[in-house]
Each structure stands twice: as structure tokens, then as C-alpha cells.
Amino acid sequence: MSQHSKRADNFIKDEARTDWHDKALWHVREKRDASAEQLPEWELLRETASQIKDNVLSNLDNYLVQFETEAKKNGVIVHWAEDAADHNRIIGEILEKHNARKIVKSKSMLTEECKLNDFLEERDIEIIDTDLGERIIQLRKEPPSHVVLPAIHIKKEEVGELFHQKLGTEKDNSDPTYLTKAARTHLRNKFFEADAAITGVNFGIAETGGVVICTNEGNADMGCHSAPVQIHCMGIEKLLPKAEHLGVFIRLLARSATGQPSTIYTSHYHQPRPGAEMHVVIVDNGRSTHLGKEDFRNSLKCIRCGACMNTCPIYRRSGGHSYHSTIPGPIGAILSPNKNLKEYSDLPFASTLCGSCSNVCPVKIDIHEQLYKWRQEIYKNNELPKSKTIPLKITTKVFENPSVYNSLGKIARGSLRNLPGFMIYNNFNAWGKQRDLPDAPKEGFKQWYKKNRNE
């Protein structure tokens, strides 16, 4: 079994919990729909956003240079990191220069991708994730299972027990308001003690050299405005040409993510506050190579809203951790193979190709088409497991030979009707797991067609 299947298999063992997870995410999808339907220009916004990103990708080198020039004029220190190791080293050096031992971080999938927390902890630097969901999973020593709802897989009773152990809250109290207040008090102290604050970036603006960060909790701002050093880590693809383009993206982002008309805080950082220092680390980590793949470059448009996850029938029923990659869900399944085809060769198969992800994507990434194209790449690179290659070979033989096909069809229909359950529902039949196969008809389509054609 593939990694994804194995992990999904484990996830769905608890049927009630799987249903709960499925419904929670579908609810978010419904909120997105309600919000999108209120804007008559919604489809035009998506198309425009996609075109803006087309322009960005086609002129990315110039925009990056412009961004750096403008940022420097504002007194911002700009760094360039080719890969994850570079990124971590640069941050390590900034922290060392300031003798920073206590760091607060606000949610950043990029620092997850670079495994920054592990890097800093190995150097005895305390790094605290400050988004509530991120803090929960950090205390549980788990990766996020969703890009905007990192703790969506965890029940409130589990958070209650976790906070009881780690933050000293009352035993058996799992009231979300009570737990959130406890986290608020705990994190307030961390903000005020922090030597440096690290954040991700939602959008960088080439024209002004500033970065924009969207949160609901206000944690990025609490960190950046408390600590003497603020560091923003930005993937090269996050740039927008001008401030006016933010209008399109801010309108799309939160509506697609949670159905809100905007996040509570949309913060625009251009200069450090007096006496403080502001850094931006521009990170490539494989993105410039990805840009060269015509079939797959569209996925660099992603703004990390998570809409594709909330709608995906596979994601909802297998959980984010089943994807064993930093970014889970449909978008993760097309981003990850760019980094390591072998390791993530199972992910493009974790899909029914239903296309729902592409339909909700605010920047119109052809997600399901890329999933299909990755499958071809994986086949060409001989990364398909035997559980797929052998049936494929057999199927090819069957399809090449009509008489074999006809008689096998007859046998299959007969077997489904007549064989005892254990012969159908066993380890050799993956399709018989967790589901009943349909009743087989007495005749195949060919026979039906022959009979009815002349009527």
C-alpha cells in the first residue's frame, strides 16, 4: 500500500471521527460558496487574479529586483535564500547577531517547508508558534494538517487535555472559549518576552517593497510590534506588481478560505518601527526550477487559501496528515512532486479527478488536470508501484483482445452475483474495502445495445 493509502486507512478506522472531519470541512466549503455568491463579479475576480499571477510569473526576476530596491529604500534588510538550508542559516545568523533566544512565529507554511523549528531547537533557541491552531499542534509535536486550519483534525476534548498538561488549565474543561483565553494569556507573555518575531508573507508588493500579512487572531502583529527584530520569510512567487492588485487578492483570499469577506487584520509592513529592525528573506527552494515546467507552473499561483482541501472528497475523508507533505490536499499533491517525484509519487493518485478543486481555486489553477499529468510523469519515470503496474498490464492485454474482454465481463458479472462474500471482500480487492459493490446486472452494455439497437 502507498504511504497515502496506509495513513488514510489508519485515519478512517474511527468512522464517527471521519464523518465529523468530513462535515467540518464541508461546512467551511459551504461558507465559501455563500460568500462567493454574494459577489456578481466573483468569476471575473478569479480570472483577473489568475491573469495577474500569469504576469508575475512571466516577469518574476524583474519584480524581485524591484521589490528589493524599494524595500532597501525603506530601510528593510533583504536576503536571498536558494534552498531550505540557506533560509535556515540566514535566520540563524540574524538571530545570533541579536543574541535572540526567544522567538515568536506566526503561521508560515514556508518555514514549515524549510523545517525551521527543528533547526532552531537544535540550537537551543525557543520558537513558539503563536497562531492558536499552530500552537496546539506544536504542543502535540505534529505538523499542520491544513494550510489555514492547522488543527482541524483535533477534537476539543483533546485540546482540553493537552492544555491541562502543558498550560495548567482545569482538568476536563474543553470549552473552546475557556481554552482560547488560556492560550491568549500564555501567548501574551511570550510576545512581550520575544527577542525576535518571524512571519510568513501573504503578498509582497514589487512597486513599494512592502509585505502584506493576513490573520484573524492578530498574532503576526502582536509579534512584529513587540520584538526588536521582525523577519518575514517570503517565497519568490508571492509577489504582486502593484498595491492596486491587492484589491483583487484580498477580496478572494478570505472568502475562498473561510467565507469571511476579509481576514480581521490585513497588515502592510514597509518600514521597521523606530529602533527596530525589519528583514525579508526571499526564498527559492525549488520554485525557479518549477517555473520552467510548462505543464505545472500554474501551481505557483497558489495563495494558500485551502479551498481545494475543504472541497476535496479524498482530503475530507483521509485527513491532511495522510499526504505526508508540508502542503496537503489537492494543491499539495501537485506541488510536492516538483520537489521529490519518488517520495511523493503516491499523492497524484490520492484523487478521484472530480475537478472540484479546480472549480473553487481562486486563482484558477488547473489542479485536477495537473494531477492527471503528474500520473503520466510518474509512469514515465517508473515510479508506479506494482499494485498499479501489474493490473495495468493485465488490463492492457484484456482491452487488446475483444473476446477475452467479453468473456471476462461475463465471468465478473456472474462472480459478483454468485460468489460468497469472502471471495469478493478480501485483501485482493481494494474496491471492496469500506464499501459494498453494486449489484451486477445480468447482461453487459454490449448485449443490451445489440438487443435494443433496432427497436
Binding site: E41, K156, R184, E217, D221, G247, I264, Y265, Q271
Partner: protein, 193 residues
């Protein structure tokens, strides 16, 4: 060097130049009354308390003084950029919890209930986040329909920092249950003048 290596690779791999789309299609001419109605309903949806005193003849300072004593009777510490209650300049947020933030926004956005503040208003950036409650004032003439108009009116790099705030801080990270008062303000009151 990393910079030149990254730029070289991008130059080699980027597709042919694609033109930027036209944004002039997103103009929204909404009658003022409707704008204010939208702004109030979205702000309320974002869990802000909204009060409109557009037609009031009472001077703002007098109104606010009374409003604050009536609605925030327990507030003793203020970050008051309008200087109704106290002078904000020397507040140290790491030392003293502050009860109430008071400021007038530069701009309001009807579609999301957002209010715009920058360094010139905030003085201390952390103020609006660290205060327990926020009281925000917006002139009804400064409300625009959507973010497109907001970015036409606001120059985001005019000061070192600016922020659009659409209500009290929120989270739904525990089982999708909405909790107001995550890391930032626990409540927000918006007064439309």
C-alpha cells in the same frame, strides 16, 4: 551568490511576458445610504458593535465622553489618540494592560467592514492589538464600497505600517467554534459619524 543564481534560473525558466489585466472593470458606484447600510451589516457580522450618530448634533468629544463612561464603566487605562480621556504617548504595553483604544480611522470599506489605520494615527503599532477593547470612529464620507477603491485612496507605503481592521480578533481553531478575542482586542465598537 544566491541572488544572482536565483535570478538567472528565473530568467531561463520564465514563460514569455504576459500583459497585466485591466482593473477598471471593478468600479462600484453604490449610493451612499446603501454603502453605510452594507458597512453596518458586515461590521455587525464581524462581531463589532456599531453605532451611527451621523445625524447627531452633539459635538463628538462630548458624545464620546458620555459613551465611554456608559459603555466602558470599568475602563481606567486608555490609549487615546483623540485625547478625550488621556494622552497616549508614553503607554508601555508590556508593563500595563490597557483597557481601551480610541482612534479615528482614515477609511472604511463597506464590503468587509474594515477600518484603515496607519503609523500617523497609531503612533505605537501594537496599541490597537494589545488593548483589551477598541473604539473606532469613522466618518461616513470616508466609507468606500470595496477593496479596489480602498487601494486607490490609500497609499500603502505612505507610512511604515498600515492595517485594515475588520472587527475584534477571532479564532475558530478549536473545532471550528468561533471565539472572539484571540490575540488582539476582545471587543470592538465602531462609531459612524
Amino acid at each position: 551568490m544566491s541572488k544572482s543564481a536565483i535570478l538567472e534560473k528565473i530568467k531561463k525558466n520564465k514563460p514569455e511576458l504576459v500583459a497585466l489585466p485591466d482593473l477598471s472593470v471593478f468600479q462600484h458606484d453604490v449610493p451612499r445610504e446603501e454603502l453605510i447600510k452594507d458597512f453596518i451589516s458586515v461590521s455587525t457580522g464581524n462581531m463589532s458593535n456599531v453605532v451611527s450618530i451621523i445625524d447627531s448634533e452633539v459635538p463628538l468629544q462630548t458624545y464620546l465622553k458620555e459613551f465611554i463612561s456608559k459603555n466602558f464603566p470599568l475602563a481606567t487605562t486608555f490609549y487615546d489618540t483623540l485625547k478625550i480621556e488621556a494622552n497616549p504617548s508614553e503607554v508601555d504595553f508590556t508593563q500595563t494592560p490597557v483597557d481601551l483604544f480610541i482612534a479615528e480611522a482614515k477609511l472604511g470599506v463597506a464590503e468587509n467592514g474594515g477600518l484603515w489605520f496607519d503609523d500617523s494615527i497609531l503612533k505605537q503599532r501594537i496599541s490597537t492589538f494589545a488593548c483589551e477593547h477598541t473604539l473606532m470612529i469613522i466618518n461616513h464620507k470616508n466609507i468606500v464600497p470595496t477593496m479596489h477603491q480602498a487601494y486607490q485612496k490609500i497609499k500603502i507605503s505612505e507610512t511604515g505600517y498600515c492595517v485594515l481592521i475588520a472587527g475584534p480578533s477571532k479564532t475558530a481553531d478549536i473545532e471550528q467554534s468561533l471565539v472572539v478575542g484571540a490575540q488582539g482586542a476582545v471587543s470592538n465598537t465602531t462609531i459612524i459619524i
